[in-house]
Amino acid sequence: MAAAEFEVPTLTEYVDVPKIKEGAMAHVKSFVSPQVTQEFMGYPWALGEDWKERALFKMGDLLGKYRSLRVFMDACVHCGACTDKCHYFLGTADPNNMPVARQELMRKVYRRYFTLPGKIAPWLVGAEDLTQETLEKWYSYYHQCSECRRCSVYCPYGIDTAEITMAGREILNYAGMGQKYSNEILVKVQKIGNNLGLPGPALEDTLAGLEEDIEADTGVPVKMPLDVEGAEILLVTPSADFFSEPHVESLIGYAKVFHAAGVSWTLSSKASEAGNFGLFNGSYETMRTVAMRIRDAALELGCKRIIVGECGHAWRVAYSFWNTLNGVGYGGDDPFARKLQEQLDSRYPQPMHICEYTWDLIQQGVLKFDKSANDDRVITFHDSCNVSRGSRMGTEPGGQFTIPRNIIRAVANNFHDMDADTIGEATFCCGGGGGLLTDDLIEVRVKGAYPRMNAFNNVAKGRQVNFLALICAICKAQFTKVFPYYGFDRNMVGGVHQLVSTAIKLD
């Protein structure tokens, strides 16, 4: 199981645009979601006789709801600017992984059923009937897109392939072809409160164990409070932070920061997940249901501030969607949203990223560090796609790029950036985002990581970098898994707050 059953790309100094290999990844099919999961989500679990009507109905529904989707279907002029921008194309050479081709899978169906020329003379305008074969292709290639939006940065029209992929997945779900990985997670978060399915008592036991560890390690009784009513801050973080290495090291880092700041804070067993796979699935309703747990928890606990831990897409949802989804951030306009808005402290941004919080404290001189504690590390930082291209931090443009780097420089002496074309808004995805972080897509994940691994390899060789700092649970899990495929040690992967945790001085 551990050995690769496919060819791992060879690392080179530059990423060359590959010669295309038609159908190179056509065999990829992520496991399909079973009946029990689909039923809970309100979708059919197989293609029924009416699958085509259902698919086209949903497509029309989304085209009507989202003006953006219709513009993206109409606007492409096939200029080709996006073709070599996708990490999955660069790593697989499959032409259907060129963003324009991925879009075209939907666009040709759109033309056939939703435009006049396509209805009258489909052969003239590249319009095609929706067949089961097309739907299978959608399933394959819409699960080879991590919705990272790198291509949209280079598109002169700003066409967002991520939004097309999201729509594609919602249509697939509605027709009866859901993805097992994402949908099982969405069931767990709704039933149990987090993506892992970690029940309250297990969470309590895990946090108690971590408190013991920190005290044994530092001699300071740093707490990991759970469900504390009246706490000032509610921390919402990915459940992987409780469960996995290296994620847990960052959780310890957040706890130490709160301890050093002397604030009251709490985790919530109800909102024990920051992640929101509803975004990946393209279902606004699902995304809203998942987001509501956080509002409920904040109201129940009476917290004044909501801070989000190291999770890329959670921050995009929090920063860009919570406003209208659940009213955190002063946009929602229903009795509970208004109640929450009265409750939250308006002197602070709501929600706030843990990096914004830590950086504020560093600037105020509240936190003290022994930077030499990180001297065994030579660090680089990977910008997570959803933070880079779907949100912001702080009050200045580009704050999402400078703030995490400022923190690293404040807690460690050795930092080098990777190549400028691979960071900031041009960042390459880790290869496991957008609902692809599953073993059945390991080939896609390893090959998709190729451009990032190339850039990392260059700083590892040229600058002796030995630590990849991250602010996303998916990135952490993905790199921990794919680093060994490229000959790197999985322990070179960790969190920004892991570095904070190493250097912070506690009283």
Binding site: K188, F243, V248
Partner: protein, 111 residues
């Protein structure tokens, strides 16, 4: 769902080979699943697998990696209570591979 036959009895597993019904689990099945994973079961492997099952019975979830490493340190000695040692036992990752052999559901999420 696929079926596997172990010691004359057949059992249901999912697409990835995880046992569907927790109650079906026996030591023979664990041996079979370990073989499928190319893991040779030693006493240390069994300590981990047994702990996973005990923990699952109490909490309905596999233990977090930290909880597991601490339990391993207690049973097998402090030098073995770390993630590196667990990866030596279960090269595909302790969370997933050890759970599979223990007959527990696959942990999901950003892990």
């Amino acid at each position: 769902m696929p079926m596997v036959e172990v010691a004359g009895k057949s059992f249901e597993v999912d697409e990835e080979g995880y046992l569907t019904n927790l109650a079906d689990w026996t030591k023979e099945i664990a041996d079979y699943l370990a073989k499928e994973e190319k893991v040779e079961m030693s006493e240390s492997h069994w300590e981990v697998v047994n702990f996973l099952r005990e923990y699952y019975e109490e909490y309905q979830i596999a233990p977090a990696v930290r909880v597991l490493t601490k339990a391993v340190a207690k049973k097998l000695g402090p030098d073995k209570g770390n993630n590196k040692y667990l990866y030596e036992l279960f090269p595909y990752g302790p969370a997933k591979q050890a759970c599979k052999i223990a007959g527990l559901p696959k942990p999901t999420g950003c892990i």
